[in-house]
Assembly symmetry: C2
Homo-oligomer: 442 residues x 2
């Protein structure tokens, strides 16, 4: 893509309404545009990053055998009245009346609807266990939306639901999702720690928030810092290995504010290992047994003819929120660097062109065509901005690798650098190989 | 995927509420489930087909240089008041008040919002031409939703918008989209004919509906039947060739009901070439100049400093509707056959297992593992249904190729057939090669 053709409305000034760095960066680099309070349009590079995150989330769900479907955004209020949550949910639920006066709502979550789908589709124990998920837009009518995509009204979320015959089996499903989450965040370049958490309006008695450390985080956390040393690569995608991983995490104290008890922290964690800091929630999982299956009468027949209410859990990841969370984690000293796995482009060519330098343009075009033909997603800054202005711009756009065509580039050798790293002088073949190695390691 | 694990709630009976064959088939094969009037959940195989259609639509948009972004589902009413359409739109627009009493709506289309994004982002003639698109859920509060996904309330749609400096350039963008649409439908296995059409609530003076022939179609059409002989493969993705293609279509009379005039039909079309029939609209494109850019003050600076309102067109494809449309076109004599490009699986293995035939199971599993390792998306019917029941089931599910493990299969040779076609006895290598050829030709 040529930068002059890319729809990327860059802002010169820091947007005054943005209080945290992800919100500032996303507006400044034309990733998003507010369309009304707490509601955003995703412009091409923001959209591209979000879709790459979505793809990784999807792949890790599929790996543990979850099946994807799609529930609608608009739900009937009826089923929420059946579960009892229609009145409980509060004003954050966007309530709607259609032209015939029927009560609808924009789904803030989908426990009711998935239970309804399951109860009318599955009759026998033979079809269990089952994990179903979807990735869909949701809406919460926040009173004070803020922090850009971190706390907005319309947001993109993966939510999964597990169905099992008994508590033990259900906890195995829970552990599978635990495993999928750790792998998902790892592929996004994040270290997310599962912390015991309150269950809130979803309910149930077992819950973990997945938290990444960030000064701007809204969640206060208390942990045994050795929990950061657990290596998920030592674990495979099978139930014993997964259950074992879960036990490792359970060995270390790690809780959010709601669950914090000073006496536990002091007695369970050696002083040297106590970590008190802030973090951002990027995922939340729940086990709630028959909380929904019972009022909604979602049961299956057992072998002996008896009926049992299915045991359910639910598992959320905020996909659009993760775009902001990655920025909060990776944007430091005014330089952004996207993880290779979700970068809007693999590499950018930055030539000095301000004197209409045809030679540099031709050189850049040759490199561009070569890399494109090698299936590398390359951006070419064909504008006439001064080199220093270009560098400033790409410090924010955050493409991890740069090819600079300026005074130091020769006929067949070019400056190649990792953003914020040192410069190498390489041939185009060497650059290609280096990029392929970086891209494929993700 | 093993059929016993797949979340595919098949119905035994024809659903009484479904009047047309696509609606019947989608309910019967567990592709969708109604969640409330005119609103559906997409279950795994329906979802998979819809995503494959979405991918093809996206690829063809990208090929003509359109850029993808994503506008939200919920819009502020303000901008619709600015354009004057808030009052015009009628009760099909789902109007919403948020907790603070602010007027919102669920977007039925996006001319206003995209114009607002464009006007605040683009200032100079240098950035034109530009085509932006998104694929998003939309809502129309239909009084009488019917025919399943063909006329429902919440639907998935690609809408694109072009921005140009003058009418001539704008018509080139229009022609590009014309070309992209013909290629899109061709890849979906459909013959869609562009027909001059009324512009309705979108407005403007140039418009085409893309129509596929089907007895169940809601649109009456009148055409010179020679229009079906135009071969788009003779045209390349460059402006002269595209403009030439557009002229070819313009040579032949082809209109929808609204535009029909008997005297034109009789005078312009030789009696032998007159075709009067029914069809289904699968796409609709519009050119409306400055209809939205003028009231919304979306202008750019020209070279000489003057300002000009941008000339816009809009271009829709109903992605979720296409799932139904393909069924209406391809489901005949009680046999469905999905085009290879969008089939839920590439091939299905159908073994006779009702006598717990371990030998057939092992044979099937070997074939299954082999094909999966060859990157072929294969379904394995591991249930104990009688073979004849399995055939009946797969006549509806519509996977285009079958491997049958029954009496005619040997140790290393198996029955392979195209649904509704004749049977070959082939080795597993031969089957793999045949499938790869079929899949890759799409």
């Amino acid at each position: 893509m040529y930068l002059s053709k890319l729809f990327i409305p860059l802002l010169k000034e820091n947007p005054s309404e943005a209080k945290i760095k992800s919100h500032q960066l996303m507006l400044k680099t034309g990733m998003i545009k507010q369309s009304s309070t707490g509601i955003y349009s995703w412009l091409p590079i923001g959209f591209k990053i979000m879709k790459k995150i979505e793809k990784i989330v999807r792949e890790e769900q599929n790996k543990i055998g979850a099946q994807e479907l799609l529930m609608p955004t608009i739900q009937s209020a009826e089923i929420w009245k059946e579960s009892g949550r229609y009145d409980d949910y509060g004003e954050e639920m966007l309530r709607i009346k259609d032209r015939q006066g029927k009560d609808l709502l924009y789904g803030p979550t989908n426990e009711e609807l998935i239970t309804e789908i399951f109860r009318s589709s599955v009759k026998s124990y033979k079809s269990l266990p089952q994990i179903l998920y979807h990735i869909q837009w949701k809406f919460r009518d926040e009173l004070r939306p803020r922090f850009g995509v971190m706390r907005c009204k319309e947001f993109f979320m993966k939510d999964a639901y597990s169905f099992d015959l008994d508590d033990d089996k259900a906890k195995e499903s829970y552990n599978k999702m635990f495993f999928a989450y750790l792998n998902t965040f790892k592929r996004l370049g994040l270290t997310a720690i599962p912390m015991s958490a309150d269950t809130g309006p979803i309910g149930g008695d077992l819950s973990h928030e997945f938290i990444i450390l960030a000064d701007t985080g809204e969640s206060k956390i208390y942990a045994d810092k050795r929990i950061f040393d657990i290596d998920i690569n030592e674990h495979q995608n099978n139930q014993p290995s997964i259950n074992n991983l879960r036990r490792k995490y359970d060995n270390f104290y790690a809780v959010t504010d709601d669950k914090f008890k000073k006496e536990d922290f002091t007695s369970k964690v050696n002083k040297n290992n106590q970590l008190t800091t802030k973090g951002i929630e990027v995922g939340h999982i729940f086990y709630f047994g028959d909380k929904y299956s019972k009022p909604l009468k979602c049961s299956v027949d057992l072998k002996d003819g008896k009926k049992v209410y299915v045991k359910m859990g639910s598992y959320g990841i905020g996909v659009s929120r993760l775009v902001g969370a990655v920025i909060e984690a990776k944007f430091n000293n005014n330089i952004m660097k996207w993880p290779e796995s979700i970068s809007p482009f693999d590499v950018v060519i930055i030539p000095s062109l301000q004197k209409k330098d045809d030679l540099n343009f031709e050189k850049s075009k040759k490199i561009y065509d070569f890399l494109k033909n090698s299936n590398i997603d390359v951006l070419f800054d064909d504008t006439e901005d001064h080199l220093s202005a270009k560098f400033k711009k790409f410090d924010l756009i955050g493409i991890p690798y740069q090819i600079i065509i300026g005074s130091k580039s020769g006929e067949n050798q070019f400056e190649f650098k990792e953003i914020n790293g040192k410069t190498d002088i390489l041939t185009i073949e060497e650059i290609k190989n280096k990029l392929n190695k970086k891209i494929n390691s993700n």
